[in-house]
């Protein structure tokens, strides 16, 4: 059987760990897949790259994926990356020192920085505000990339930021801010943070490859879940996400969720409909490749 070549697009988060492991441990090769991971700076360009066949499979966040489907792209989910977890303290909303922001109510009228408007952290945070009975429209969201969060808090341009490690740790260490809430711990557990998607016609033509891809991820998940593999796992991640070693050693790795079910997509559709991010009702059942 001939090998199938797959260029895979990822961004710089640990939720892609299962893909990296499957490449490094040869799980793909075993299934006649030649996967070449390609770093993509902006998550939201992934669907277009898939559409133009520059990528065969890519890892958009659920909000990016669902919006592209909403816009009319015919892509399906082949598998999943990381999952949300109650134990996640790798991201949080951080208040500027001296503001005293704590509860969801305190954010009303404040300027809050998020790394991407409409992206994973933003949608989740708004979900938390709503869950806490606060109208998120009364909060000023401003987009600012991670590395700037600390500077913007210090300079007083923002009152709070929704941020993640390792940037969060640096902000806390410098005393520029404090954790107002680990809001992630209030969100539903076990929801995907990254989806592996491909064009529907590509999947139809490469059924075996798509299945093989998912199976390799399942095998990789098992690898990740074994505590003994921790050191090797971090080494593998470090190969694809180039961060300083001390940062790599401390990074929290979200649990893998290689197989996506309808309920998980439903959760995101619900959250996004709530926040008026979708115009149509995506038929979730047809979006998951079996």
């Amino acid at each position: 059987q001939a090998t199938t070549r797959i260029v895979y697009g990822y961004t710089a988060v640990t939720d892609f760990a299962s893909v990296f492991v499957a490449v490094e441990e040869g799980y793909f090769k075993k299934r006649n897949l030649e996967v070449e991971p390609k770093f993509i700076p902006l998550n939201s360009t992934i669907p277009a790259a898939i559409q133009s066949d520059s990528l065969q499979i890519g890892g958009p966040t659920p909000s990016v994926y669902l919006q592209s489907v909403d816009g009319g792209l015919d892509h399906v989910v082949v598998g999943g990356g990381g999952l949300t977890a109650k134990s996640q303290t790798g991201y949080a909303v951080v208040g500027r020192a001296g503001t005293g922001i704590r509860s969801a109510q305190d954010f009303v009228g404040k300027k809050v920085g998020v790394p991407g408007l409409g992206a994973f952290l933003h949608v989740g945070f708004r979900g938390w505000l709503k869950q806490s009975g606060v109208d998120y429209k009364k909060v000023n969201f401003i987009e600012a990339s991670f590395p700037q969060h600390g500077d913007l808090l210090r300079g007083g341009s923002l009152d709070a930021v929704v941020t993640a490690d390792p940037f969060m740790a640096r902000i806390l260490d410098s005393g520029a801010g404090y954790v107002a809430s680990y809001y992630g711990t209030f969100l539903t557990e076990g929801m995907p943070t990254i989806l592996h998607t491909a064009r529907r016609d590509w999947v139809a033509k490469n059924q075996a490859a798509a299945r093989g891809f998912r199976e390799a991820l399942v095998e990789a998940a098992a690898f990740i879940n074994k505590p003994a593999n921790e050191a090797r796992l971090r080494a593998i991640i470090g190969k694809y996400i180039k961060v300083p070693p001390e940062v790599l050693a401390k990074m929290q790795i979200s649990p893998p969720g290689p197989v996506i079910v309808e309920k998980q997509l439903d959760y995101w559709v619900g959250l996004m409909k709530d926040q008026e991010m979708l115009r149509t009702d995506p038929k979730v059942a047809t979006l998951i490749a079996r």
Binding site: S44, P47, A48, Q51, V64, Q67, S68, D70, G71, G72, L73, L117, G118, I142, E143, A144, S145, P147, Q148, D151, L152, G155, G156, S157, L158, M277, R279
Partner: protein
């Protein structure tokens, strides 16, 4: 043809303004028709290229019910302020470089070094140092839009005919008098062309600034529409940019015709 400047030229007899406008419109409409055809025949994916009517609907919706009108005003204001700053800075610096060998030696190399730095890469640095304020974005817009005016001014000064330099020398015109009476008028055609470009660049950098520095305006609207794969809204934003660009340029073209009357008396 431009050959016969004096009197009524031969060949394409003076085309009336009305007819020119009609032709101009016809070309644009032909292009729109092509787009309509391309969209309906599905030569292009509807995810990225909407139908013209879809775009119009989004435009209407955004302008009447949504925030598009306010965004447009914000972008226009940012563009105009940035353009004004850019023109002032470009002409002043250009004149300085144009007449002073000292300025050429000291500051031109620095300018040439920062010129190729993309706003998309400089802006994050500027945000880190100066914070996220509208004034900072404005400064970046002015910075980005300054170059066409600056280069044109420098060239305009360099291209003063030697004979005119000698006239100025014979009359012992002071440096400022040379700048205002010979250099700048001589550079005017170049400066005006540069200002037209600068206007466009100002608009584009304003939009990029809004995208990168999260300021309210068409840039943000376009960015969010693109991220949400809402092609019709994206194109509505682009159409508004086109309209802004067209109007500002039409105004400039009128000013240019008046100021350059001596070229085609």
């Amino acid at each position: 043809m431009a050959a016969a400047r004096r009197g009524a030229p031969h060949g394409g007899a003076a085309v009336s303004r009305g007819r020119a406008l009609a032709e101009s419109l016809a070309v644009l409409l032909a292009l729109l028709a092509l787009w309509w055809l391309a969209a309906h025949a599905r030569w292009l994916s509807p995810v990225f290229v909407p139908t013209p009517e879809g775009m119009l609907a989004s435009l209407q919706q955004g302008l009447v019910g949504g925030e598009l009108a306010g965004f447009t005003a914000a972008t226009v204001l940012r563009m105009l302020l940035g353009w004004g700053l850019a023109c002032a800075a470009g002409i002043a610096l250009g004149a300085l470089i144009g007449i002073s060998a000292t300025a050429r030696a000291w500051i031109q190399p620095t300018l040439e070094f920062v010129r190729p730095l993309p706003a998309s890469a400089v802006l994050p640095l500027a945000i880190s140092i100066f914070g996220l304020s509208p004034a900072m974005v404005l400064a970046v817009v002015a910075f980005g839009a300054m170059w066409p005016v600056l280069l044109a001014t420098v060239h305009g000064f360099a291209s003063v005919h030697p004979r005119l330099r000698e006239v100025a020398g014979a009359l012992q015109l002071s440096q400022p008098a040379f700048v205002f009476k010979v250099g700048l008028p001589n550079a005017l055609p170049d400066i005006l062309a540069g200002m037209r470009l600068a206007m466009t660049v100002a608009l584009i950098v304003a939009v990029v600034g809004e995208m990168l520095a999260s300021q309210p305006g068409l840039g943000q609207a376009i960015l969010l529409a693109a991220r949400a794969f809402r092609a019709s809204e994206l194109f509505a934003g682009i159409a508004l940019l086109g309209a802004i660009g067209f109007l500002s340029n039409a105004l400039l073209a009128v000013a240019e015709r008046r100021l350059l009357r001596w070229q085609h008396p």
